[in-house]
Every structure is written in C-alpha cells, then in structure tokens.
C-alpha cells in the first residue's frame, strides 16, 4: 500500500507537459535507433547523455528510459517487415512475425507485437511497483549456481526435437557454443580459440552473427525465389489494427505465461533476449496445435514480444536496487545515474524517493506513449515497402553492413557478416535450424562462466547445483522441460500402437 501511495506521488512528479514531451522525443529517437540493426539503445543513450547533464535527474532519466522503450519497439518492426532484428531481443519475433508479413498480414503481426509488448511492459512495471523491495531481496539470493540453473532452464525450454535431423540441431547448437567461447575467458583470464588472430580477441559478436544469419541470409533466399517483399505491401488501416486488438484477449494464456517468464528472466538477470526465446519455446510446447509455428502463428509473435518487454522493464529494478546492469543500456544509464550524483543501490529507494517513483510512474506513461507512437509509425514503414526493390533492397543491405560495423567499430566484422550471411542462406536451405545457434551464442559464455564459478566455489563438487531449494527447483524444472518432448513422444508412440492393436484384434 505504501508503494501505491508513492506511485501516486510519482505520477504527480512525472505527469507534466514538459515530461510528456520528453517522453515523446525519447520514444521517437528510440524507434530510430531500434530500427537500425547494430545501433541500439546504448548508442541513443550515449547521444543523449551529454544533453541530460543540464537537466534535473528525473527529466533526464525519463528521456533515457523512454528512448529505451522506443528502441525495444522499433526492433520488432524491422524483425517483422524485413526479418532483420533491429535489437538482439527481437530475434525470436522474426520466427513467426516475418512469415506473417510475407502472407500479407504485416499489420496484424505489428499490432500483435506492439500490443503484447505493451502488455508485457506494463506487467513488468506493476511487478516493480508492488514488489520492489521483495524482488530486490530475492535477487540477492542468486549466485552462480542459480544463474547457471536459470540459463539451463531457458535453454531447456527452447530446445526441442525439431522437424529436421537431430544431428543438424546439435551442430547448430554446438557451433553457437564454439563461437561464444572465442575471446577472453573470464574464469581463467586466457584468450581462447583466437588462433593468434588479433581480430578475434573481442570475440564473435552475437549481433554481427544475427545480422548476417537473419538479415543477409533472408535477402539471399528472397532473391533466389525471385520474390520481392510480396504481400508485405498490404496496406495499414486503422480498422485492421482495431480488429486485431479485439482478438488479442483470445491469447490470454500466452500473454500471461509470457509475461511471467519475462518478469522472471528480468529479475534473475537472464535478460530480455533469453526471455523471448524461452517464451517462444514454451508457447510452442504448450500450444494445442503444434503445427504452424515458424510459418506465421499469432502466438509466435505474442509470446516473445510479451516476454521481451516484461523482462526489459523488470530488469530496470535490479539496476536501481542492486546496481547490476541487466543490459548494456542499463550499464550506460547507470553510468549516467552516477554522473548525476546518484548511487544505484538499495539506498536509492530510500534516499531518492522522488527520483525512483517518478521514474517508475514514467515507465507506465512511457509505455503507453510508446505503443501509440509506434502504431502511428506503421504506415511510414509500410510506405518504405512501396519503394522499388532495386532501391530498398540495397539500402537494407547497406544498413545491415554498416550496422555490423557499428557493433564494434571493426572492419573485420564486414567479412564476418558476409560469411554469416552465406552460412545463414546455406543452413536455411539445408534445414539446419538457426535459432538454437543464436540462443547458444546468447547464453553460452554466461552459462559456462556460471558453471565454472560454481565449481570454484564448491571446490569442484557438482552437488552445488542442488545444494539449496532455489537452485534445485530451477534445475528440476529445466530437466523436466528437457525430457518433456521425449516423454510426450513416448506417450504418443504408445497410444496409437494400442489403437492399432485394438483394431486388428
């Protein structure tokens, strides 16, 4: 109750004309950086940071967080329309979002994406409002074994027996792990798999891989089929948006489940990217009809988007309360907090009530503003699609390549993105699943670090992974999800054989 009162006070702080204008500015700028792959919220924050030094901290953080929301929304737009994830966390949105767009259902896909994203974000903010102090304490209970369990759970929920050869799935996952092992190893402090090549010291960037695998790989496939954004030309009408809105409640179960997954991954720093994958995997696993995923199922857009934003907004809490940045953006924002003279940490909630609750209130408002603005930009993107392909195709390519360059400012990545593009094209044609590789790249090094830190803590004793209730529960859930496809397969095998037996008898 005390929190509600504080929130109302926060609304009083946040709800001024000046702040609403700042939110709109932030969201628009965020959409811009979100749409461009490679450029992300951290770049936007960097751009705005000097500007904010002359503002009061509340206005400044409102501007920055609004930009963060805008970037999250913008990332989904390009995922759906061009199969290019503008932000890492919108990779999973491409799986069904882009097929929907190809079938001429771009408006629906975008509307589902934005609305479910808005819903997820609101759930995340409500969680922060109601449970801030409890969540902060809960997060402190997490150490390396628990982190490993969380990553394991995320992985287990996404990886299942796909349609293609299991060998190919395994290759895809393991290549992802190998890529993520390149570069500095935190636990031993040695450089691994660099083969004396200086350019590999920084590791293989997940973003560069994604831009190549998805963006360029998809363009190559499109070219081979001689297609040019067919169907994506569908016009955007407000009525269609409204009609889609009315069907959203039908997916209440997916929405709630995904929001819960998102909040969980946001608080236990699994991060938005892992959250969206996990949510997509579970949506697929628990769907009544399993077919159609990857070919344009509504749940395939709703699930990752909801989880992505729920995680994105609830990740702000550990940053404020514990000073652990859940993402690069949060890290830069934290630097900003410190430059404004605020020390992130548990005391922030007590010493800087106005600031914290003003920020939380602005998260409610900022998300509403973001949903409205981003829906308003849909016609603009639809207009881009009407530009002749001979112009827009190369422009998208230039954006991909420049985006890959901006990730680390390294010309080596120009080659890397080209190679990943070819790999993405060949893998797709030969039915190698690409998503598991991407997830392995997101979680691989974190999981390995957590595993080895745990082993150091326990002196090499693996029982640390079931040494307390928390870690044991998460691990058990993970194992259950991992064997789930096998179990259901066995059940399925058993059932029809009995039927067959019955008919022959």
């Amino acid at each position: 109750m005390e929190n509600i009162a504080s929130l109302m006070h926060g609304f009083g702080v946040a709800l001024t004309m000046h702040h609403v204008l700042l939110m709109m500015l932030g969201v628009l700028l965020g959409i811009l950086v979100g749409v461009l792959p490679g450029l992300g919220a951290p770049n936007g924050v960097t751009l705005l940071m000097p500007l904010t030094f002359s503002m009061d901290p509340i206005s400044a953080i409102i501007l920055l967080t609004s930009m963060y929301w805008g970037a999250l929304f913008g990332g989904s737009t390009t995922s759906i329309l061009f199969n290019i994830p503008g932000e890492p966390s919108s990779v999973a949105t491409t799986f069904d979002g882009h097929p929907m767009a190809k079938q001429g259902r771009a408006t629906e896909a975008l509307t589902y994406a934005f609305l479910s994203a808005g819903f997820g974000a609101l759930v995340g903010v409500v969680l922060i409002t109601v449970l801030s102090s409890w969540v902060a304490k809960f997060a402190l209970r997490f150490s390396s074994p628990e982190f490993f369990a969380v990553y394991f759970l995320a992985f287990a929920s996404f990886i299942g027996l796909g349609g293609s050869s299991p060998f190919k799935t395994v290759i895809s996952i393991m290549l992802g792990f190998a890529f993520t092992a390149v570069g500095m190893d935190t636990v031993s402090g040695s450089l691994r798999l660099t083969y004396g090549i200086d350019e590999l010291i920084r590791g293989i960037s997940f973003l560069v891989a994604v831009i190549g695998l998805f963006g360029i790989g998809e363009l190559l496939l499109t070219m081979e089929e001689g297609l040019r954004f067919d169907g994506v030309k569908a016009r955007v009408s407000p009525r269609k948006v409204f009609a889609t809105l009315l069907t959203l409640p039908r997916y209440w179960l997916t929405l709630l489940r995904s929001a819960a997954i998102g909040c969980w991954m946001g608080i236990t720093p699994g991060g938005p990217t892992a959250a969206s994958f996990m949510s997509y995997g579970l949506a697929k696993r628990f769907a009544r009809r399993r077919d159609g995923f990857g070919k344009g199922r509504e749940e395939g857009v709703i699930a990752p988007e909801t989880a992505d934003h729920a995680a994105g907004s609830s990740a702000i809490l550990p940053m404020l309360a514990l000073g652990i940045p859940g993402s690069a953006t949060a890290a830069v924002m934290m630097g900003g907090l410190m430059i404004w003279g605020l020390t992130p940490g548990p005391m922030l909630f007590i010493e800087q009530k106005d600031f914290v609750w003003g920020l939380i209130a602005s998260m409610y408002l900022g998300n509403v503003v973001a949903v409205v603005l981003v829906l308003a930009t849909v016609p603009l993107f639809a207009a881009i699609l009407r530009v002749p392909f001979a112009i827009i195709g190369p422009v998208i390519l230039v954006i991909c390549v420049s985006g890959a360059y901006t990730v680390a400012g390294a010309s080596f990545d120009l080659w890397l993105v080209l190679i990943f593009g070819v790999v993405g094209y060949v893998f797709k044609k030969l039915d190698y699943p690409i998503a598991p590789m991407v997830l392995a790249m997101v979680l691989g090094d974190k999981a390995e670090d957590a595993f080895r830190q745990s082993a150091i803590m326990s002196g090499g004793d693996l029982s640390i992974f079931w040494s307390n209730g928390l870690v044991a529960t998460i691990m058990a859930l993970g194992v259950l999800l991992l064997v789930w496809p096998l179990l259901s397969l066995i059940v399925q095998r058993l059932r029809p054989s009995r039927d067959v037996g019955a008919t022959t008898a």
Binding site: P50, S143, M184, S190, I201, L322, G323, G335, P346
Partner: protein, 332 residues
C-alpha cells in the same frame, strides 16, 4: 579540367594548413576518438566519459570528442586497436594498469611500449570488504579465520589474472593464508555476490561497493594504502572513508596497491601532441566537475605525466610481474 584545378587548389590548401599547424604547437585537426578499454558502465568508461563531458562542457577543444568502447578481451581489443593506429594522435586510449599487466598474462600481439604514455589522472584504492552480517569486525579476525581454514574462504573479484586477482595473491603471501578466488565479470557483480553472502570477502574499489555499504549489505575492513583515505562526508552511521584503517595498521603488510586511471596515445606520435594532451588533461583537472568525480568515486586525485608516469609504470609493472611470475601466469 575545372574539377582538376579545384582539386589541386584544395590539396595545396590542405598542405599549406598542415605546414602552418605543424610549425605552431600541435592541435587536433579532426574529431578526437576516446578509446575506452572497458565495456560501457565500467570504471574506465566512467573515467573517459567524465573527461569527455568536462571537455565538451567547457569547450576545451575545437573538435568534437567521440567515445568508443573497445573492451573486448579485458581491454586487449582497445590496446591492439591503439597499436594499429600508430602515428595517429587523434585517438586517445583510456586504461588502467592493465596496459602493462595484461600483456604479461595473455598472449597478445601487443607490448606495453606500443603505446605512448600520456598521464595518470587519478589513483583508485582497493579495500577489503566483507558482508554486512559477517562475524569479522576487523581485518585481523578475518585473517585468523582464513588461517584456521585454508582454502575455505572465498574472495570474489572482477576478472581473472587481473588487478583483483593479483591483489588477492599478494594478500595470501603477505598474511600467509590460502583462499579461493572467484572471478566475476565485473566489480558490480562482485559487490552483489558479497552482499548476498555468496562469497566471504571482495577487494572492490570504493565506488563499486558504495551503494551496498550505504545499505548495510557490505562493510569495509581495511584499505590497501600507506595512509588512510581522504576525509569526506560520513557514509553510514557517522562513519566515513577516513575511518577505515589501513591494512598495514590491521596487520596485513600491503600498502602499495592502487589502480591508476591512465591515458595513452598510439605509438610514433609527435612529442607536441603528447604535450598538448598533457596540457588538456591538466585543464580538465582544474574544473569543479573533476573534483566532483574524484569525491564521488573516492579516488585519490594524483597526476603523473612524463618521467614521473614512466617511473610509476616501471614500479607497478615490476610488482605485478613478481606476483604473476610466482603464480606461473607469465605467457612469454
């Protein structure tokens, strides 16, 4: 024909400008790149961005300043980048003592003298911290507990074979104990792991643990410095930084362990350029925002340049090398 003439004129003009600039003192002629050898949000990142903010705010440079993070491989990415930019005085590399320690422990195509030292602008202290509810009220009791159970005490830190790890090894030697070092990704992570009671101690810099100290999650036992830290405002219960005993007072004879905030230029740059940046950084130091940064992060405001800085590097490298060699971490 016209085009060609115009081009020739332009080239001549550029050449003329170049000559006149070289005759006078060196000045940047295009945007200056600040290369940060850590990821966004890290200590080096804040250092570089503070300098950038001060330069921009007070118009100390005619050219814009761009900050680029190259923190891959514990900063190796940035150093190698600086090496390949030899002769380019528009790239300024921000680092710590990892510039000369990292090449000792990691196989790199980079040697410390590939870069030109400019200055060290501040010195960050290291402290020994325990969780808020730890039974140890002083360093002595902590050390005794560690002696009683060799290898059982877990000390967290940021990265492996890096400053925190080297310090922990020095503590082991100085106090005659054996502990388990747990490397985390960052100092911030080490701070929350300590507050959650998952490790028994850490060796964070003041700024990394300040938030948790205020909230009672962690407590400092002693500082690895010859003298106590500068007096500031009290942090918790009327206690401030100056109330923390030095580790030497507390019985751990380690007093020279500090991390400098350093600035470098690529190799083969004109001496005038180095002088220019030394002067620029001196101006930065005089601004109130710099003082604010130093106070907020509880660092020591020291400035080394030229010969002093060289001596500092040599001493620090020798000390580091001794530990690294003793641990068998040397790669060459």
């Amino acid at each position: 024909m016209m085009m060609k003439k115009a081009l020739m004129a332009a080239t001549a003009l550029v050449a003329a400008l170049g000559i006149s600039a070289a005759e006078a003192a060196w000045k940047p002629s295009k945007p200056v790149e600040f290369v940060v050898t850590s990821g966004p949000g890290g200590g080096t990142d804040q250092f570089a961005r503070t300098v950038q903010a001060i330069i921009t705010k007070h118009n100390l440079l005619d050219q814009p300043v761009v900050v680029v993070n190259k923190g891959g491989g514990s900063g190796a990415e940035g150093f190698v980048y600086g090496k390949t930019a030899a002769g380019e005085p528009h790239k300024v590399i921000f680092a710590t003592n990892n510039e000369w320690l990292l090449p000792l422990v990691a196989k790199l195509a980079f040697k410390p003298d590939d870069l030109t030292p400019v200055a060290a602008m501040a010195v960050d202290e290291f402290l020994l911290w325990v969780p808020g509810d730890s039974p140890h009220q002083d360093a002595k009791s902590f050390i005794e507990a560690a002696k009683a159970a060799p290898g059982k005490m877990k000390i967290g830190g940021s990265q492996s074979k890096d400053t925190d790890h080297i310090l922990v090894k020095q503590i082991e030697k100085a106090a005659g104990i054996k502990v388990t070092y747990v490397p985390f990704k960052s100092g911030g992570e080490a701070a929350t792991q300590l507050a959650g009671g998952h490790v028994d101690a850490n060796t964070n810099n003041p700024a990394e643990n300040l938030g948790q100290w205020k909230a009672g999650g962690v407590r400092p036992l002693c500082v690895f410095a010859p003298d106590r830290m500068a007096k500031g405002e009290p942090v918790v219960d009327g206690k401030g930084w100056a109330d923390i005993p030095t580790c030497k007072e507390a019985g751990v004879p380690l007093e020279h362990y500090q991390m400098p905030r350093t600035v470098f230029l690529p190799g083969d740059v004109p001496q005038e350029a180095v002088a220019f940046y030394v002067d620029l950084l001196k101006q930065v130091r005089e601004k109130p925002e710099w003082q604010e940064y130093i106070t907020r992060t509880s660092q020591s405001n020291r400035f080394f340049a030229g010969e002093d800085f060289q001596t500092f590097i040599r001493n620090n490298e020798d000390e580091g090398r001794a530990v690294i060699a003793a641990e068998g971490w040397l790669v060459n």
